[in-house]
Symmetry: D2
Subunit: 370 residues, 4 copies
């Protein structure tokens, strides 16, 4: 976890052990079964860990209720047998989600509810400018506008009741103008999009090197293979579209010029939860000499994502505690497409978090009383 490092470790963040998990899903498969499959297919988590948390997983499962799959694309709908996932008007769905949140918070007696979107990637929506103001958005909900995706409904339900919200996926979530307005008005912190766990993380560390050395990138080809349900959903061209975008765009921002830049994602079931990315970077130096760098990144998708989700929960709860609403630029390093932040150089993004933490540490009363 990033929050286990200094200076973040010295912040007064909620303890991991104090977190209580619950949520929505649209599949029936129990978490225990999902984790068992991951253990079988890729050894992560290992059998010892699985046995140690089996009881906890069952308890969490009881706190998971049926969600909505509105506008999530066909492949997501097929994950679920349950017709219910696509039924109801938007107003009914939103009201159900809000009530699910309250029930969970009440039953678990939590101090603060944080909502994190870790659902399957939705296809990007077209024409999001029609949800540019809170007014338009709320009208759309009332009028059951068929273009509003599930991720934005979960986000609306969170923000309207002042729960901090994090979007770990490339889906729309809180990125709509209307939701940013809502968050600002209610002064609730929110941030997204798309956790930066692997290939894109490396890109954001390497591309500044090419830029700083004035080595001109001619082409940057990335090919990803992965075997989990995320991979299955991303097989679908519609759902893949948003992912591709958030994986590729940062290069142009860092390098400052156009170049051939392609990202491929292929579903390779045998890999289970493991993902391999191969990147081929063709660049040009002195006297137009063409050279190349290649890398492979082989990671367990979930082992990379899980600690970041914990970090984000802790850090956004902290921001909320300190009355910091709206987008949270100090969290930029966690995202492929950080909302409200144009900077993609990883080191500069890290620095934002360190500066934020140090500012808070310096501001904090030193705990002494006279």
């Amino acid at each position: 976890m990033v929050t286990a490092r200094e200076p973040m470790a010295s912040l007064d963040l909620p303890a991991v052990d104090d977190l209580v998990f619950g949520g929505h899903d649209i599949r029936d498969q129990s978490i225990e079964e999902t984790v068992e499959q991951a253990n079988e297919a890729g050894g992560v988590p290992n059998s010892k860990t699985l046995d140690a948390v089996r009881e906890d997983l069952r308890e969490i499962d009881e706190r998971v209720t049926m969600g909505t799959a509105r506008k999530c694309g066909q492949v997501v709908e097929e994950l679920s047998d349950d017709k219910a996932t696509n039924e109801g008007t938007l107003a009914e769905i939103v009201s159900q989600i809000r009530s699910d949140y309250e029930t969970f918070a009440a039953e678990q007696d939590v101090d603060k509810l944080v909502v994190v979107n870790v659902a399957s990637t939705e296809p990007p929506i077209k024409g999001d400018e029609k949800f540019d103001t809170l007014d338009e958005l709320e009208t759309a909900i009332e009028e059951d506008d068929s273009d509003l995706p599930a991720s934005s409904l979960y986000a609306y339900a969170a923000l309207v009741d002042e729960h901090p919200y994090v979007n770990f996926t490339p889906s729309t979530g809180s990125a709509l103008g209307g939701l940013r307005e809502l968050a600002a008005e209610k002064n609730v912190p929110h941030m997204g999009r798309d956790g930066k766990t692997g290939e894109t993380l490396v890109k954001s560390a390497l591309a500044p090197m090419f830029a700083g050395r004035n080595l001109q990138v001619l082409s940057w080809e990335g090919h990803n293979i992965l075997g989990n349900t995320d991979g299955l959903v991303l097989e679908d061209d519609a759902n893949k579209e948003g992912k591709i975008e958030s994986k590729g765009n940062l290069l142009e921002q860092i390098l400052g010029y156009d170049h051939h830049n392609a990202v491929r994602i292929d579903y390779t079931p045998s890999l289970g939860d493991w993902k391999t990315a191969w990147d081929h970077i063709h660049f040009q130096g002195f006297l137009e000499t063409k050279m190349k760098m290649q890398f492979t990144w082989e990671g367990s998708d979930s082992a990379l994502a899980a600690p970041l989700v914990l970090d984000l929960i802790r850090l956004i709860a902290y921001a909320d505690e300190h009355g910091e609403g709206g987008e949270q630029p100090q969290l930029a390093s966690f995202f492929k497409s950080p909302q409200g932040v144009d900077e993609h150089d990883l080191s500069v993004q890290f620095q934002k978090l360190y500066d934020y933490s140090e500012r808070h540490l310096n501001d904090a009363p030193s705990g002494t009383v006279e």
Copy 2:
């Protein structure tokens, strides 16, 4: 070139076209022949470029005189047929080099002489603390101490006559206490060691990513193969020693903990001037999950080094012009082992150069007249 980028490009640096090249060598082989071999073996530079600069290369050759190979190790001595390269007392050698510098400067009528060490890597010296003061160093020269290596003689000859000095190699050069004292006393800028052109450059961009994300590096294995004379000299275990050190040390500084960290260098003649590095990084994340990243870097050694040498000449001449003597931390990003700088994070090093440049740009009179 880095100096072709903003904000450096706006500094009033000497123009590349105004530079005049000359120097010392201990081999007889003409530069033209060396470049022809590089063209044949690896296509860099290509035939067109070679033909375009052939005449210039011949002129430079006439400005190259015989140097010294003192303490450069057996493999370097074997590069030269000429016994002279190892003869004379230190005092005689130093006086010869100083006079060579002056002759060159006078004949070419240069405004400023900058000395850059791009000679073959020497074996590291033992017991450098006996050259810790200028006094000790000058006594050692007078007494013909057999431990002083060629690189430090060239550096002494430069600094004592107030010529800025850059050490692009892992050799000792100006890193001795006595030479640092001399540079400070005379207020001459100098900087080193070991140009950061390839594998180590990538390390300094990637390691901060692992550190920032709290992904624990378990082992970082690097294997380099290259085919030029640099490779031939580094085949020798004694000469290789210094190189290995400066390629490996930065990881520990960036990561802040010990781990298995090995660097191999193998001479593979068929590669000519091309170098391939393969790095294998084994790291551990959440729940002790072991993952890995691998990269290959395939570059033309000379095409990577040449622009940096030009950058360094321009920037150190500029520093000299502005009365900035001693070590030059703003140049840290160019070196594997930047003298006087502990920071190895590439982005932070880049920032030092940008800050330096902007400071100078802001200080500069804006060119307006009343």
Copy 3:
């Protein structure tokens, strides 16, 4: 060249220096210009070679006449400005090609004319069973059937006049039943399809290792990037289809079971004539342990293909000389989808060629007289 190795080198093959080149194209660009671009973009051939053959290239250009682009797909049609490439009835086109062949043979006074298809890849045709007999095929030509592709027209024109024919591309060429019948009837040798120069060559060498060791391949992912006109044409999904097929199919034949097997091809202009393939092989051994092999293959497409084309010309002319008509299984090792041969193990395919050569060497009169 394979034919420079024993035992093939001892066969009485036509000398490379005796070959005269000519042909059809549908682009206007001169060969000299194409080769100049390849030299600029990727250094193959190098400037010296280019200068040495410049005159020959101009002469060949004069022997190249306008061909037909029937059924070659839109992207091929766009390569040519000339409307003529798509005009005329099939009967007119065939008669033109036959007359072009005769004119070339007469003007150059060649002993034997060999036709090799090295044109851009066509989209695969649907319903090729309607050309299953020579009768059906000739009727289709008379009736101007819009489904017959250019490659089969060039092949028909060759075979009907008893010129040996080689198809170095994945296009249909002589693979139609009707053309096989024609070749058999006229006893003309012909062979195809799709030169095996890179990734697929490696597959046919490696897959038998997995099979022989009973290591179960779970998935074999291949990703190809290339920058030449071949790459541009293969960007088009229709044209790519045939290529993908012939790159993937052999694995199933060698391994003998189904597995996840994907091939990607991406056009990356900066690579010029260079192609990089990255393959990721996930396999399972003892106790279901999952392991992996990855390889990259970085070759100059043309430098890999050219010698094989020369080999094939020499070997098929030889077969023709010896009265061997129909498909030529001894040439299987040269092709991704060898016509009439099910064996894909490279070593076994090589053995076919060695056996063929040795049979001929043993049969040949030993040159002694009594």
Copy 4:
């Protein structure tokens, strides 16, 4: 297992379930503990498998007795606390080993005893010609010649009592002239050396491709990193020497010419039982165009070796059953340096095993009686 494939599967081989394991070791560490460490460090075998065989492992441990470490080099001696491993005269040691073999066979009531050397790699011995005849060898044992290594003592003890013998390591084993004479005289089958499980396996599949296509290999660099005790022992330059030899030599045999060919082995503890090999092959094609292939092979050392050991036990027992003494060329594909076989092309080696199997299947009485 290779013997699970046809045609070997149809041979009347001993069933795996009927095998009983025992042996010598010089370390105290129990097998259970070794396997537990492998499970922890690299997940092979996984926890389920470990639990399933735990009891068997304990039983095998009881059948393991103290062996000898004569001439195994310092690093092997350090594996053992027990002085006994280096004590006794050769005659005493041999007699002890023979009696250990008999005790095991008697107690377990086995039909046939097969001895397989899977001990740590010894340093290669110098001057093995002094053991060229059985006479010389037996004299050396009597005279306690300090140059005879442990592996040859275990081999002698096996062969003299007519137990088939397999050497899975690069150590000397039965490769001495005197032991080959003994095996021939007694008509006992034996074979070695050095199981071909990874990098070298790939080399023997790929090198024939370069040879057959007349692509000239300029250099073949191999770099291996591994983390188990095998790696620890191979850290020692003396012990590594034999391994390097058997990993490199085959290329020259297959290619038929000299080239730059280097193999590196580094101990990287974090990898546990996993081994990664990186190979870089630089080759030259048409018009001297230089191209390259690179591969990585990432395998679990033990999961790759174990099935081959089972295969070899089954196949050498079968050979013994059929009265086939001396070296066993049909087993060449299993070894990096197959004794008595010059052929290194993997496919040709596989073919030897298939031919052998089919010959036996055809010879076998069809099992019918009238």
